[in-house]
Amino acid sequence: MRLSDEEEAMLAGEVGAARQWAIKHQIAVGGFFDAPDFVRVGQAHVMADTESLGETGVAWLEDLAALPKDQRLVRIPTITDPRGIDLACYKRLKQTDAMADIEARAIVAFEALGVLMTNTCINYQTILPPVRGEHAAFGDTGVVIYANSVMGARSNFEGGPSALSAGFTGRTPRYGYHLDAHRIGTRHFVLHDQPRDLADWGALGGIVGRATNSYWHVPVISGVTSTPSSDELKHFGAALASFGSVALFHLVGVTPEAPTLAAAFYGCAIPKATAISADDFAAFYAGFAAPSEKVDVVVFAAPQLSLLELQHLAGLIAGRRIHPATSLIVATSPEIKFAADRMGLTRRIEDAGGIVAAGVCFYQMYAREMAQANGWQRLLTNSAKLVNIIGGYGYQPTLASMERCIDSAVAGRIL
């Protein structure tokens, strides 16, 4: 990689151990992907829940935090993805004090590095949305795909160590979705049936993701007959990234790099389209179906809920009561939780027996240990991303609309 004088100084350790480690790490990654040089980034977003970090990762962060202040501070705005513990409600979820203790250590270390504890995977809705053409180093695959596709920003999937490196150096290796060459559509899907709600949009992301199945392919979707909302594209992108490891999509007539079908392929030949029909949606749902089974836990998360999702959920559940053998958990960002408290939405959900947790996301919350402590196995959600992830933690997941999830939570079985 070509290095500027400033980058050479970082590599030589002239600006401290943290920046030296960071640029060495970035050069190793950039070399793997044949990056020619670095590109400056405007923001970094760090995924670093303590289940992923483990004791090793937290101790590593604490070593960085012990450096002199002029060496340890990030140099661009650096924010965090959801945490593993909401200290306000972890005991209700039967999470342990040991989990809370390691979480507290991680927070202290991150704050010493100058990282803002936003604890959100919907920063593009709540913190500082990137603008078209802005280079970023975002963690959380859902954040990356939304920023790239809906906003026209430029980021690769940046794991926690790499995003933190970008915070220290203010740049990232120039490869993948920072380059025009990788933003050209490579697959074409045409809708013959329209998604109707958030779960359907997630299902569509799952269908396209399974068919695409590569970080290095860019699916183009045509045939959408109305403009989706931010929340619908949030669920679509999160599922597409989760099922397919996809970091960029173009939705013809909607997303900024796809005003037309031809534009989505940057003038290159348009591949033969794969049709997506009502049968494909039905088959996707059927793969997770468990009619009439007892439901242990109903989860609304992955991604965290927006204020409008919380409003809809509160409207569906107000005045009803969750079945005593069923738990209902909602995850949102700290900013949205504050707004939901202020507007009475949290109270309506919790009066019905639900828990509204802030700054966390379900699968990042020691999901296996929570399942064991609470006796949970059958999980119901309207998040296609979550049904894709959570099976590995020992759950049996089912996907349904928010309305069916609430009705099932009240009944205690899947309706």
Partner: protein, 139 residues
Amino acid sequence: MAILLKCHKGIGPAVTGFALVAPDNFSARYDLDRLEGRFSRPTHKLYLQSFLDKILVLQTAKGGVASAWMLREMAARNKSPKAIIFDRANTILAQGAAFANLTMVDRFVDGDPTTLIRTGDELQVEPDAGLVTILNRDG
């Protein structure tokens, strides 16, 4: 004469070990019981198989940025594969390998390594040279 497979220059030290192969993908968060050291996702083709000290040979990486932390954490507990060979890695797994100093290579000249390498093959992986050698079979 062993079989030589040329690939892109990789990450991590040269290692030798035995292959565990599947035409499937990989995520440390989605697919693994990291405490037990085995695949835990029921739909994964390596479900319930141990990955400890194996050289995993898989097609690609799935979504989930957590793997970048998890590979190092697994290595610290001696609950990690010896190396991972992909047909095509994504950014997260490459970043995780760099962070953990785990051996990883991808992009083979002769095609998908899950069709070139068999479970139980003894492999030598040399990331700096961009070379994987199947030691137990003749070319």
